[in-house]
């Protein structure tokens, strides 16, 4: 099967799954309050004008599937509904917050990739005390819950030592990065440990393979050998893990944003849940689900493409 055919086939499967997931997200939100009117207006009492406006906008008497379709097309046009609690368009609220979350997750991704691979590579190439120390550190890092670490970091670095600001998102590029450093470190910590462990074992495995000996016997320098035969081969498991870990980062952002009082999507979601602001909850959950699925899809595709031993035509679920 050609690369193009493979990509097309996988993409179609991906879109189908996405549709099913969106339907699930849409329907789940209606279970709680029970009727669509309460969903839109929340549980508090509202003026008759608001009720009329809501009814006009959402066609609440239509059958369920029609409402799903309306909602789906609306979303694709950028209309995520309106938050009654905050009296704002959900899309406005989201676009403002999206930036902070994206910056936070991006920052954390860079951190965990750099640190994880560097530590893993160091441990793999120098067995002995360096290796043991790094392994212990990685085990410890993986077990550390994000909210505990965040609390510890804030206590020591922000409150006690005053090296970093405690709250808020800051202004300007430098300011924002400064404010986002502690949160990004908190977020990246466990993932860096995990990636270090995976990198180390993948590199170790490859270093012991016979084809590395062949490369050496042809006169290649150690660096060339490491780059072309050890690292290249170890990339396969590393890339797979990275994809999944980024998903975990996004999930962790919810907690980190709450601890550091950042105005991101995660903290908005938590607030909306507590205030029973369903349109916001539904929209953010939909966005999260889409993002996770895209990441999964991309990881799957990349993984299949970079390993020539995998047959492009094969069924992934076989």
């Amino acid at each position: 099967m050609s690369v193009g055919g493979f990509l097309a086939r996988r993409f179609v499967g991906f879109v189908v799954t996405l549709l099913i997931a969106s339907f699930a997200v849409f329907s789940l939100m209606y279970i709680a309050p029970g009727d669509p009117l309460s969903f839109v207006l929340g549980t508090r009492s509202v003026s008759p004008e608001r009720v009329a406006a809501a009814k006009a906008r959402y066609n609440l008497d239509d059958p369920f599937l029609v409402r799903y379709w309306d909602w789906l097309t609306g979303v694709l046009h950028g209309d995520f509904g309106r938050s009654i609690v905050l009296n704002q368009e959900v899309s406005d609220l989201i676009s403002v917050r999206l930036q902070t979350t994206a910056l936070l997750v991006g920052y954390a991704t860079v951190l965990f990739l750099l640190v994880g691979v560097a530590l893993g590579a160091a441990a793999a190439r120098r067995p002995g005390p360096i290796d043991s120390t790094l392994t212990v550190f990685a085990t410890f890092a993986i077990a550390m819950p994000t909210f505990v670490l965040g609390t510890v970091l804030i206590t020591f670095f922000a409150v006690e030592l005053g090296w970093f600001p405690v709250y808020g998102a800051g202004v300007g590029i430098v300011g924002r990065l400064n404010h986002l450093t502690l949160p990004a470190v908190t977020l990246a910590f466990a993932s860096a440990g995990y990636l270090a462990r995976i990198t180390r074992s993948a590199l170790r495995d490859e270093l012991g393979r016979e084809h590395v000996e062949t490369a050496r016997s042809r006169g290649l320098s150690e660096r060339s050998v490491f780059r072309r035969h050890v690292l290249r081969n170890a990339l396969i498991p590393i890339v797979t893990v990275t994809g999944l870990t980024i998903g975990a980062l996004i999930a962790g952002a919810v907690i980190v944003e709450t601890i550091f009082a950042l105005d991101g999507l995660g903290s908005l979601l938590v607030e909306a849940i507590l205030k029973k602001d369903y349109p916001i909850v539904q929209s953010i959950v939909l966005i999260l689900v889409i993002v996770f699925m895209v990441i999964n899809f991309l990881t799957d595709v990349i993984y299949t493409l970079i390993d020539p031993r995998l047959d492009l035509g094969a069924d992934p679920n076989a």
Partner: protein
């Protein structure tokens, strides 16, 4: 489990219980087990172990330093920290326990069914699980809380659902391997129904793997549930719970009193590491037993 450890060596022939435990768990596993048992027992016997009622406030001694009357000090409302931590262990353990039990039962059922029936059913279940794998557990918990309101019940429901695919995948793999073994064919030939074979013959042989997976997951469940409580969406204050304690402790820490947050946080990390180590050891034993 606590009572088994405390009992005298078994009278039967063969290695004593202590020797068998050591062989299965190793030093690290044994230490982890002991740690977990101690903490769990303290939580279970909280009414007798804790010096104070965790809800009793005493506004005259707020944020007190450790003293003979309050070994770990007090919190923002003058409540004894030690008692709150001991009582807090209850929700911190019970929630995850429920999550693991529910997800293990449903996940195992799905895994065995998938492995046994195969074909289209297996395919559909596999796809369904794939979608669930893509989403981190916290998303399920958040959705559940959004539907049912903040509280331990909703969080437990959401988290249980999110753990099902992990159990199902492990069980399915193991069941597929077991299924190929001769004793299963022998049972079929004798006319046993599929259900009977699965429940009375297949399941007991999968016991070790299921247990190893469950124990390891227990650690993660503790963290995730504590995290949800930390956000205010799980166990609600003023119920003492380690996750809640970290949250209230954080507020205190920002005022310069990090004690509560650090104690609760340390306990969580200790418990998680203990469960991870225990789960690893059990999995390693299951691996070597297979060969």
């Amino acid at each position: 489990m606590a009572s088994t450890i405390a009992a005298a060596p078994v009278r039967s022939a063969g290695p004593s219980l202590r020797v068998r435990l050591y062989a299965t768990l190793g030093v690290s596993g044994l230490i982890s087990l002991v740690v977990i048992v101690i903490i769990a027992s303290a939580a279970a016997f909280a009414p007798w172990v804790a010096p104070y009622d965790p809800q009793t406030t005493d506004l005259t001694s707020v944020f007190a330093s450790p003293s003979p009357s309050h070994p770990l000090g007090t919190d923002a409302l003058g409540r004894d920290l030690l008692s709150r931590l001991i009582w807090g262990g209850r929700t911190t353990f019970i929630g995850p326990l429920l999550v693991i039990i529910v997800s293990t039962i449903i996940g195992s059922a799905l895994g065995i069914t998938s492995a046994w029936v195969g074909g289209h059913v297996d395919n559909v279940i596999a796809r369904f699980l794939d979608v669930m794998f893509a989403l981190p557990g916290i998303v399920f918990a958040l959705v559940a809380v959004a539907i049912y309101g903040a509280g331990l019940t909703a969080a437990v429901i959401g988290l249980s659902i999110s753990y099902i695919p992990y159990v199902a995948r492990v069980v399915r793999g193991a069941a597929l391997r077991e299924r190929k073994l001769p004793y299963v064919a022998a049972c079929s030939v004798q006319g046993f129904s599929a259900l009977r074979i699965c429940v009375r013959h297949l399941l007991p042989n999968l016991r070790t793997i299921i247990t190893a997976q469950a124990v390891a997951s227990l650690g993660f469940a503790v963290v995730e549930l504590a995290g949800i409580s930390f956000l205010g969406l799980g166990v609600q204050p003023p119920t003492p719970d380690w996750g809640v304690s970290v949250a209230t402790g954080l507020q205190a820490a920002l005022q310069g009193y990090p004690a509560e947050a650090l104690y609760a946080g340390t306990l969580i990390v200790v418990v998680v590491v203990a469960f991870n180590v225990l789960g690893d050891r059990l999995a390693a034993t299951a691996e070597s037993a297979k060969r």
